[in-house]
Symmetry: none
């Protein structure tokens, strides 16, 4: 049974947003420029992650990056320009990480569970990602749309292969996207509830993963008893 596989994600190195040693000791001018750009970028990610896009003022970002306000405009055209780049940059890392982890699985459901877990391990490593992603809907809507479409596309082609292998049956092409959106949605809402919710877990609890797996494996009507954790059935 699924829950016995006790699937765990092995961390794949993700392109870190440079925590940039002081740019003053840069080897060359070009390198310095790059370091400052990255300092601004990672400062912005941190500020947005901690306080939200709304409060991510140029003043806060440059202060955090340790450069003058004017310097910002040597690297980004406008404030929005930088904000628009936040999600794509981190989103790429996330996709990479999740993709790498998921493909270790043998079955469709195992791969989904691995991807699911990988999403949360990415969140743990990139604590700012979640807010950057979610608030992008309001503050960088184009980036948000592109991101969701990208993730959905990956999901759909993942399912399409499963369909061709007969691992997944009964869904027509365009329905695969519906499934993709439901699973993406689930990750997001469950993270909101169980990672960032009142009881601040660092990690998604294991029983949540199992409940999720049960639901998407069998649906609401197909489930059967016994999952071995401490709870009793309702």
């Amino acid at each position: 049974m699924a829950r016995k596989t006790t699937v765990t994600t092995k961390h794949v190195p993700t392109a870190k947003i440079a925590q940039s040693a002081d740019w003053r000791d840069a080897p060359s001018r070009d390198a310095r420029g790059k370091m400052i750009r990255e300092a601004l970028f990672s400062a912005a990610a941190a500020v947005v992650g901690e306080r939200g896009y709304q409060e991510a003022s140029i003043s806060l970002i440059t202060q955090r990056a340790g450069v003058a306000q004017g310097t910002f405009y040597n690297h980004f055209k406008t404030r929005q320009d930088l904000l628009d780049q936040l999600l794509p940059a981190l989103g790429k890392d996330m996709l990479e990480h999740v993709g790498q982890c998921a493909k270790q699985g043998k079955t469709l459901i195992d791969r989904e569970e691995l991807g699911f877990r990988a999403f949360f391990s990415f969140l743990k490593q990139n604590p700012h990602f979640f807010r950057i992603l979610n608030e992008a809907e309001s503050f960088a809507p184009n980036a948000y749309r592109v991101h969701l479409d990208l993730v959905a596309a990956g999901y759909v082609s993942f399912f399409r292969r499963a369909s061709q292998n007969k691992e997944l049956i009964g869904f027509k092409e365009r329905e695969l996207e519906v499934v993709a959106f439901v699973l993406m949605a689930a990750r997001s809402y469950l993270a909101w509830r169980y990672v960032y919710g009142e009881e601040t877990h660092d990690d998604i609890p294991d029983w949540v993963v199992r409940a999720y797996r049960k639901l998407i494996e069998k649906g609401l009507s197909g489930s059967q008893a016994g999952n071995g954790d401490g709870d009793t059935d309702v």
Copy 2:
């Protein structure tokens, strides 16, 4: 089979946000106050719905409500105070509407489909709701949390009854909340994608509802062919 039930929602009257006749012809002092308050409230809902919380300035809201800026502060403590009340008020209506519709269903899955459809019919009647709900995560986080908890609680008690009836089996108490969040998530993301997405449908397409139903009914591994629409399997 599920899709034959062709479940449809009957509209239940929802507490309208007062479109407020001119408050100048109010019968009493008190009534006048109430009318202004409601005018401000509905103006805010409209502004937020159309332009987002960010642009919902006091100036815009009071202008739309037809009162002076200062009047605002006779009715709400701060701008945030009003913004925080937007979602609860509309959320109550939504819950009411969805609850009324869902309970017409005979089976668990039918009730879920009815609730699902009711969510979208509510969106259609209340075109501002979706943005008010979604952006609340960034702009009125407390209200957002309360709203989600409220909806989840309703969902959980709905599932709890189903569990007791043996309509739903295999989920322990605390797992019901996981299921609730997944289904709430699904509604939100599918609305984002299929109602407000590029191809602007007024309504959620029927094939999306069917795909959704298939997924939650049987899960990923339990599905079987044939749903009678034009598509061929992958």
Copy 3:
């Protein structure tokens, strides 16, 4: 002869830019608004007159008017909006003053001399006008064009009447405008040179007026000796 007429201007009351007593003791709200508006206006005139349009920042203007920066935008749409109103307002006063003075003259040339002198007496009473007028060419070009056209139009109709009286002969209709521009130009350049020039006279020297009169009365070839001041001919 010209210099015997010893024409002098009688000052006609000109609409003063309010030097505004403190607006805090205004009788009514409306009056207060007007006073602040005028305070801003006259502060702007003073700043532009003393430092030029370039340095006339909102900060300087509001400081001088004794109000907060934000207050500015209750009265003017933008900085440029105010700057665009400076010349028209003062220009109207100038025209009025010059017109009143000029019409006391009996002959064409007398009227021109009176108008000429009136221009300089206006400058003396409104020490900011000259800079406001001149720099408007760069900083409020529309206002500048309108102003010049207005003054020219007045001049032309003045000459047209003189033509009809046979006081002025030999100029065709469209040539009158050329004459008007030359005389306007002369006032401006002579003010620049003899009022605001190195030797800061308060008033245009009388011998300059006489030289000007001689030139426009007879032209370069028609002049004859003797004007009785201390100079000897070249």
Copy 4:
């Protein structure tokens, strides 16, 4: 009669602002420096001529000159330093051109007409000059004063000679400057009105020149009919 002389200006070569071949192929270090300096100079003239002093930023100027921003400060002390040199450089060319043309005339009035026409032909060849000259009053006031004094001085000595020849009579030494300023003023205002005004002539219309000549030849009271163009008297 004056208008029969049909005076026309022959173009005298004017010191061009170097359109500077690429400074990268300069023969020597020194020459290279000079070429860059000139490139900056002519870039500035072009920018000021097209957009005005206000918008003539270092960035725009250096970009146009094809050098780095920092390079600017190897050649000029400050931005103002360069702006202050613009008018003197071009003004010298203008004086040269006008002087050369004017001295072809036989009589005082003919020379004035030739100078007048030469001013406009210079404007045509140096389309940036007019703006550089006019806005200098606001943006490079010292340069402006020096320029006007220089032109006036030339004019005065021109008139002084005419006085000594008895071509010009009735003006005392210091009055000659008044005449000079009036004529300089006339050129400027007439250019503003008839060259850069709404109906964009490339050239000053001939009838304007004739009207101007009539005015300064005979003054307002000395003119007599008939100038043979299509207009009728008023």
